[in-house]
């Protein structure tokens, strides 16, 4: 039972990460379309933000792995 709950918890955390990184990607694309000359700076910032959000999501996955 704890295994299933752990898996559900990990899935929920990943939903949050998916939404967050999706929004970052979308806004980054929009910004790159508005100002193509800033594209590389925007891309770098996008990757950093995505890595940080993924870090938070993987916190939850680690806890889920420990429990289940």
């Amino acid at each position: 039972m704890t295994g299933t709950l752990a898996a559900i918890g990990a899935g929920l955390a990943v939903i949050g990460a998916g939404i967050g990184i999706g929004r970052i990607g979308g806004q980054a694309m929009e910004a790159m379309a508005r100002q193509p000359e800033a594209a590389s700076k925007i891309q770098t910032a996008m990757i950093i933000a995505a890595a940080l959000i993924e870090g938070v999501a993987l916190f939850a996955v680690v806890v889920a792995l420990l429990q289940g």
Binding site: T44, I47, I48, A51, L52, E54, G55, L58, F59, V61, V62
Partner: protein, 386 residues
């Protein structure tokens, strides 16, 4: 001395080390009894550290692995060093045994002489279980067996050269060869157009300096911290990449081991604390603009913030790399779960895609770790602007 000579020397040294560890077929195990494939055990085995380096499993189930030295220090018998072949298949050598289940699973514990004798007897008893006469004795042996697992079991200090340690040594060796030869070339030529290996390393070093160190630490102070940032960047990047190559001497999950990432984050923590100037400590213990009655709340919060930043560094690197390995291993074990050929037509392209993504993640995680380290160091050395 030229680069070629250096590489030859290091290559010979590595070869000598490998030969002395008796590379071929030194440890073989018989196939397990159950036919069914257990994916979680398969995956966890590949993620975890081990005392021998598994090369290949032959078709009849024999495992071929490179044994690694075990170095343990116990309170009773002092420093012991021996090859891991002595402890294969659950043997007991000099009182040490690798536990496979129970509370000390995966660790080397020290078992006493009596435990050894009765354990041997219990094994023999179990072998003759169909004999009614010995069945009752087997019961008492079993209960004694249980009691011994609660007895004093000493955990010796384990300094073994395990798979992860050996690969970290290899990464350090590669980094030494790379950077010493590049430094030597610069000393000979001076600052001129880079040739060969320099042309490959120099842009990366300049990238770490211009995009990571200078924006976060500042033009005037970043020189002191560049060696650490470069070391950490290349160490993490090399180990991530080497963890993706499936055969020895690569393929150990170094950065996915929380002890390794803990030490990296701890070193970053130490460097930030020891280079913090008065401004930094003032911000933690007497944040300007905060009334005195709020300080008992603010100080613990600031201290937690001080510790949680390296903690996040540790967990981020560990979880990203381990998750990547688990995904690749799961996709491959799909083939073995379905036991059908057509699954490989689906699974292998997916695995290839995930592996390429893991290459990107390897670089990004090294970059993010170094960037955040530089950011924390920069926060600690920033001058007061008020």
């Amino acid at each position: 001395m030229s680069l070629r000579l250096l590489i030859k020397q290091f290559g010979l040294l590595t070869l000598a080390l490998l030969v002395s560890f008796q590379v071929v077929s030194a440890s073989e195990e018989h196939a397990k009894e159950d036919e069914s494939f257990n994916p979680s055990e398969f995956i966890l085995d590949h993620i975890k550290d081990s005392h021998e380096w598994h090369v290949i499993t032959k078709e009849d189930g024999h495992h071929v692995s490179i044994p690694l030295p075990i170095i343990v220090y116990s309170k009773n018998s002092g420093l012991n060093a021996f090859m891991s072949t002595k402890l294969a298949h659950g043997h007991i050598y000099k009182g040490f045994q690798i536990q496979h289940e129970g509370p000390y699973a995966g660790k080397i514990i020290e078992v006493g002489e009596d435990f050894h004798a009765e354990h041997q007897q219990a094994k023999e008893e179990h072998a003759h279980e169909d004999h009614a006469v010995e069945a009752s004795e087997a019961h008492t042996e079993e209960s004694d067996h249980q009691a011994h697992s609660e007895d004093e079991v000493y955990l010796p200090l384990d300094f073994s050269i395990t798979k992860n340690v050996a690969m970290m040594f290899l990464a350090a060796l590669i980094m030494l060869v790379l950077f010493l030869s590049v430094a030597r070339a610069y000393k000979k030529q001076g600052i001129s157009e880079p040739r060969g290996l320099q042309g490959f390393i120099e842009p990366i070093i300049l990238f770490v300096q211009n995009d990571i160190a200078i924006p976060n630490i500042g033009e005037d102070k970043h020189h002191k911290f560049m060696p650490y940032l470069l070391t950490v960047f290349f160490f993490i990047f090399l180990n991530n990449i080497m963890g993706l190559i499936p055969f020895p001497p690569f393929g150990a999950n170094v950065t996915g081991n929380i002890a390794v990432t803990f030490v990296l984050a701890f070193i970053t923590f130490l460097i930030t604390q020891f280079s913090g100037n008065k401004n930094y400590w003032r911000h933690i213990f007497a944040t300007p603009g905060v009334p005195l009655w709020l300080l008992p709340i603010m100080i613990p919060v600031e201290i937690i913030g001080m510790i949680s930043k390296p903690f996040a560094l540790m967990v981020r690197l560990f979880a990203n790399i381990t998750a990547g390995h688990i995904i690749v291993l799961s996709l491959v074990s799909l083939i073995f779960i379905f036991k059908a050929m057509w699954v490989s037509a689906v699974s292998v392209p997916f695995t290839l895609f995930m592996d390429v993504l893991e290459l990107l993640v390897a670089f990004i995680q090294a970059y993010v770790f170094t960037l955040l380290s530089a950011l924390f160091i920069g926060l600690a050395v920033v001058d007061d602007h008020h």
